[in-house]
Symmetry: C2
Subunit: 374 residues, 2 copies
């Protein structure tokens, strides 16, 4: 994508949240890639996942060491092909990368929201994204695309604004989390809550942050984004230091331990703990069919778009079984759905990683979508 | 088993550990069930896992609310049938249930060992169990039996003292941990290390203990001992409190969250954090074939006993694939091995839980073992 830069949209109207609370005003930071055509019919919305941001593709400067998080899949000649599409990628509110979130000032108190930031549901993000679409003059997205928590937003779009998208691409996602998934999220939250530097979410007022708790939370998450086999291939039982020689008391450190601690450490310095709490709760609470009598077929009968559903064989956090449930419900609701289960050893993270079949299928599907008359 | 009571054996000879350090003296707490026969040929050794103890069966008093951890499988008419066997169940050193461990007094300092307790390997436990066998006059165990970390001890017995056991029963175990397993253990250790009340392991001197860290560590472990399906069947997305009704800001709590926190809380009050660190490191470091040129077939060619290997379909912490590796190596080494993969939805915890096929197979195997002339 070359060089990109973020923009900011401010909404001065209060946002009525699913919780019944209101956000008095908010800012959305977003990036766009490619050109919006004259008919404004070639726009694609990217919905990000837990730790993502608006920076999905391209570089911020010539010496920027790494591109946006989905750069393998967004750009000229890539699956989300900027030769054809105008790509819109916002940072969700409640996040910590520029859009209004727990680090922003609460106008009522003049201090950062912290843990008082209102609880959010996936549908609240859809509302802010709809506001962004209106602002950009996009009456209908060519596609709404998301992986993981982003896939939940894409599915919610298909039910809330069925006429405002032609395609819904749902990657490595689920209609609701399993008990195991909730359990991992809760354990990560407990790690944060247990850190004395969390200060019940008011750590900014104490000029600190829950570094250790957030680091352990990320370590838990990180293990679940990888696969057992993938970790075996990458690290095995290789040692970083020490020896197992008999008669030595030298501490042994495995490569995988060092890697995980490093990942936790980096994340804890870059991410906001209140955002982590809020986003994992939004994940836990999401249940696509809850208000459709808990019937996914009834839910999807409200959709009008076509669907592409993708999953990855070794993803155990959002396993292929969860994607097959989506597909079954779409078939039951007589919606057009294409499904592929992609071979990958990279677990849930596979959606970010280059993979020939994934790239090819995704690219062809999107090219066909680009060729359609709106 | 009815009422049981523990005994204590003191070893005054120094124990030379695999690390090269020495434990100057130590105590082993153990229980026995059933009667040792005249030929002392009917003794069975139970090796416990991470959070187990010597209290494997029976009750301590008439109003004891629960029996030992393996009471479903040890007793008259049960798989480890005390009508036939004399069962010996020690608490491993380094533990926190009576045998010498981090809470014991270090004679050199007059204070509790704490984090200075020497690092242990599985083979060190085998040495203390061999000392116990000598003390009891047991020249050869009818069987050495263990699940999980206990299975590692049983396998090590078969290589270190091949003539001192006739059967080796290895349940839900592995010849070495995978990178993912090490990663979970390391994350649990980091949760403990992150707790300011850990005081680098000297929490007893500060009259406290790392309650929150140990609780998070247990929550991580607990999720991995259950299966995704099992948790789904037990908890699903049932709520303990709160509601998802639109327009309410009431906090929602899932049953699975409340359950896990309770489990973590109970464990943190009953278990010792230094023991947790030490036991998980012993798990990580175990590698059956390391000193046999990393060749499991070469390793098992030193064994003389017969083997029963059992695994459980939904166990993903010690998956059936790990048990099949044991079986393949035993076949390669021309050892007699029986293997069964038991259908269960209970994950790794299945080895503790009543299951008809598991009970029947295990019982028949052990009855045949009891009928053999030593």
């Amino acid at each position: 994508m070359g060089l990109v830069s973020p923009q900011t949209l401010r909404c001065e109207q209060p946002l009525a949240l699913a919780s019944g609370r209101q956000l008095p005003a908010y800012e959305l930071v977003f990036e766009t890639y490619g050109q919006l055509n004259a008919g404004k019919s070639n726009a694609v919305l990217i919905c990000h996942a837990l730790s993502g941001s608006h920076h999905a593709a391209g570089y911020y400067s010539a010496d920027d060491p790494k591109p946006g998080w989905w750069d393998h899949y967004i750009g000229p000649g890539k699956p989300i092909d900027t030769n054809h599409f105008f790509v819109v990628s916002p940072n969700n509110i409640g996040g910590c990368h520029g859009s209004t979130g727990p680090r922003s000032i609460n106008p009522a108190s003049g201090r950062p929201w912290g843990a008082d930031f209102p609880a959010l549901r996936v549908r609240d993000w859809v509302e802010t994204q709809r506001f962004l679409a209106d602002h950009l003059g996009i009456a209908q997205w060519a596609a709404v695309i998301g992986a993981s928590l982003g896939g939940m937003q894409a599915m919610r779009w298909s039910l809330e604004y069925p006429d405002r998208l032609r395609h819904c691409v749902v990657i490595a996602s689920a209609m609701k989390l399993t008990a195991q998934n909730i359990a991992f999220n809760e354990t990560a939250r407990q790690a944060i809550l247990s850190d004395p530097d969390f200060h019940a979410g008011s750590y900014m007022a104490h000029d600190t942050y829950p570094k250790k708790g957030l680091s352990v939370a990320r370590m838990i998450g990180h293990i679940t984004y990888l696969s057992d086999d993938g970790m075996g291939q990458k690290f095995g039982r290789e040692l970083r230091s020490g020896t197992f020689a008999r008669g030595t008391d030298e501490p042994v450190e495995f490569e995988v331990e060092s890697y995980l601690r490093y990942q936790g450490d980096v994340f804890s310095r870059q991410f906001d703990a209140n955002t982590y709490m809020l986003m994992t709760r939004a994940l836990d609470y999401f249940d696509l069919a809850r208000e459709y009598g808990h019937d996914p077929v009834t839910a999807f009968s409200h959709a009008r778009c076509r669907f592409l559903v993708l999953s990855f064989t070794t993803d155990w956090r959002f396993s292929p079984a969860r994607s097959r449930e989506i597909v079954d419900a779409l078939i039951g609701a007589n919606r057009a759905v294409s499904y592929a289960e992609i071979d990958s050893s990279f677990g849930h993270d596979a959606f970010l990683i280059p993979n020939a079949r994934y790239r090819q299928l995704f690219h062809r599907y999107m090219l066909n979508a680009a060729g359609e008359a709106p």
